[in-house]
Amino acid sequence: MHTGGERSLGHDDLTWLIGGPQGGGINAAAEGFAKAATRAGYRVIANIEYHSNIMGEHSYYRVRVGRSGHRNVSERVHVLVALDDETLVGERHAAFPGFKGHVQEVVPGGAVVFDANDGPGEHGADVLLCPVPYLELLEEALKGSSREGQASRLKVMTNTVAVGASLALLDFDLARYQDALRAEFGGRRADLGELNAKAAALGYEFVRERFADGFAFRLPRVSPPKGKPPMLIRGAYAAAMGKLKAGIGFQSYYPISPATDENVYLEAHQRDQGLVVVQTEDEVSAINMAVGAAHAGVRASTSTSGPGLSLMVEGLGFAAMTEAAGPVLVLWSRGGPSTGLPTRHEQADLRFALQPGHGEFPHLLVAPGDVHEIVRDSYEAFNWADRYQMPVMVLVDKALGTTFITTEDLGLDRLPPVDRGPRFREGGNGDADYLRYDFSDGIVTPRSVPGQAGGIYWSTTDEHDPRGHITEDAENRIRMQDKRMGKLELALREIPSDRFLTLHGPKSADVTIVSWGSTKGAILDALDILAREDKVKANFLQIRIMRPFPVSAVTAILRAAKKTVLVECNYDGQLGLLIREQTGIAMDQSIVKYDGRPFSEEELMDGLRHVIAEGPGRLMVSHRLG
């Protein structure tokens, strides 16, 4: 894997990885560095891998930094920062095949920063070893302060020493990182900010003096952008932003990884944004509260993950049957099935999200592929919910939710206007005339909301007549089912076609990659690499709205394609099944991955190169990363 020429990548493509025990502060360390790098004028993508555990298991953060920016992470580590032994050599307690440590991922010419008490394990010949006495340097940092002698209690601060140490190798502007530390510890804890800044400086100096000389991978000072620095954002926040912008009033949720991040973010903004966030007793309650809120006329939403969706399908059918204007359900997928891999990544909920419940009912399913699309889709989901009076699902995943990326602009100013859909306005005779489920004209009946004079209606999850009362009459049934299901066709007609899919890259290509959701960044990066390194002309069909399915547009593109390659992070190749079901077209080849982690650049490139060279079939790729 470690092909030559990497030194020349220099500051345009550098991966820094920090690993350590969960709960040991690697999030703060990595995010601090990532933010400092962004503010310094670099572009960053940073993702975390962690266990379903609170303290002790191996966790690591991969931060890729460059001038031009990547949309996916790479396995080739230039600087490894090890906070513990396991980061270096792997899981000692694993009875069955276990992770073997990150030292193996360090490229020739790269470096490992580690505690002087640990051994680095097996490593490439051309790797710079930088043992650093973490605790001693921390003790020194605390000296003279009110915390002197408390090093073992403040052991988490050795992270700062380690990060500082690594920055010396990179020739990175230490002050930027120190600023990030000071920003993190505000108010009463300001002294800790200062102590951390000092600890970072001691680590920095230690390495600068002993190891940094001649290290090839550097992030020297560049001129940062003028004006406000860019944001470092992840999908969890992007979804919340889209919802807030859309005017969300009510969010109910039950804690579950990886949906909790979005929920906690919204919860923290209840006061300043005026919304109500309710932590419920379970997911059944969460969806049903949201349906109640949607019927009451508020823009309502809930967010969950696969196990939660399994409990929410009942409520989705309820919303669809009663033609509630929503709710919007954001599904943050994780590794399945069942409890599965709670903190890991997978795109294995698509099929379930396409038929989320018994019987036949309409809903809209959209799967954004990056933070900008998440903002847009989370926002527009509410317009669709109101306009078509059906639940709308936004399908995202762990990788999208947690991966930080640098961006200047979320596009909030370019969103379409708020559309609350057809609303009932009181006319002549009030209630007597109003039919909430009128099927006589048009498919979507203007809705009233409780409290509105003249708009009284009934609704039921049983089949019902135009007034909303139960009936089992055959003729009425047919018309009501046609009315409900017909809204899918209406949505297909009304929603602009470019919202359904995007063909990235050249219109015509030798290879057409087909995928959805969070693989977008990886595939866009791969298109560049294929063009640059392999001289392969490839394009990428990204399908974004899955229901209603854009049959004719997809058919046209796939019929014209020379060779199609499906890429998905699941076992079955679920989008491939959907495409075949809807268009009859089978993908020529597929690359799947279901090891609980998103595609690294190298995994995807390996896969693509393999299938481009070989005949048809399904290829499972995995580099078995930690």
Partner: protein
């Protein structure tokens, strides 16, 4: 609509398909009487119901009506009420709906004290699925449609409600709609989660707890008596007095075990405590001033959120 609202103003024109003589008629009448007593404009009332014979109630009342899912009526009603605090929200459903499949929501709604009124049609059977024993049927009992007697114990809904935190807990009888109506009205007036367990006859399936059974003990007199008539007072005078609160809770729970020759009806427990809405308003004063549904969010400023990420 007349200036003075009558019970009939709360009748919808939906065709009622309960069995002749079903206790549910008494309950729906009582709800209509209570709404008239409160003179609530029908469009300011929303009735949420579960699934079951009882679940059909929302169709029969002239008010916004939501016939929801089996066991989920409380979360749905909660979501609606929190979205429009100016609405009068009634939740109704069966004993299977509320104490069986819905028992988790019953317990957790009690903890929130949202200002809604929950009326349970307690007939000790699953009516609409043809007379299986419901959660209130006691061990050893067998109604006519059951192949075997119940081998699990019945729940004690009142004790459960008090333990769960409802701030108004009462019991009434479906065949005495007048008293029931005044209890429902009191429940609606009460700020917070009110719960009323209504002993309801199901002439079709429940041949144990019949009108006859309720009206005549073995010794002849009626089985039901009013708590108020015995000097019982379930109301907490000083809600800040934790000892009084516990004492009144324990008193109510003790009473709730009275079942047999004598069954008390009326208010078992009542306390004035801040509601969930009060807590939300404390967090965000605008919530206290206007209903969420009327709030205009188009002025939201997200730049501080974005700046925090820079």
């Amino acid at each position: 609509m007349a200036t003075v609202l009558k019970p009939r103003d709360y009748k919808s024109d939906a065709h009622i398909n309960w069995c002749p003589g079903c206790g549910d008629f008494g309950i729906v009448n009582a709800i209509q009487m209570a709404l008239a007593e409160l003179q609530l404009p029908p469009h300011k009332v929303a009735v949420f119901s579960g699934i079951g014979c009882s679940g059909k109630t929302s169709h029969y009342i002239h008010a916004y009506g939501y016939h929801t899912l089996h066991g989920r009526v409380l979360p749905v009603a909660t979501g609606a009420k929190l979205s429009n605090k100016d609405l009068t929200v009634l939740a109704v459903g069966g004993d299977g709906d509320g104490y069986g499949i819905g028992s988790g929501y019953f317990v957790n709604a009690g903890r929130r004290n949202v200002d809604i009124t929950y009326v349970v049609f307690n007939n000790s059977v699953y009516g609409l699925t043809k007379g299986q024993g419901s959660p209130t049927l006691r061990k050893g009992l067998k109604t006519k449609s059951m192949p075997e007697a119940a081998i699990q114990d019945g729940v004690n809904p009142l004790a459960l409600a008090v333990s769960s935190g409802y701030t108004f807990v009462a019991r009434a009888f479906a065949l005495d709609p007048r008293t029931l109506a005044s209890l429902i009205a009191a429940g609606v007036r009460h700020r917070g989660s009110s719960f009323i367990d209504v002993l309801q006859t199901c002439p079709t399936y429940n041949d144990l707890y019949t009108a006859e059974w309720y009206n005549h003990t073995q010794s002849g007199g009626p089985r039901l008596y009013r708590l108020s008539e015995t000097g019982y007072d379930g109301k907490v005078k000083d809600p800040s007095d934790a000892d009084e609160v516990v004492a009144k809770k324990v008193q109510a729970i003790t009473k709730s075990y009275e079942w047999g020759e004598k069954i008390p009806v009326g208010v078992y427990y009542e306390v004035d405590l801040p509601t969930y809405e009060d807590a939300l308003a404390e967090r965000n004063p605008r919530y206290g001033r206007e209903a969420l549904v009327d709030t205009d969010f188009s002025d939201r400023d997200l730049s501080p959120l974005m700046d925090a990420l820079r």
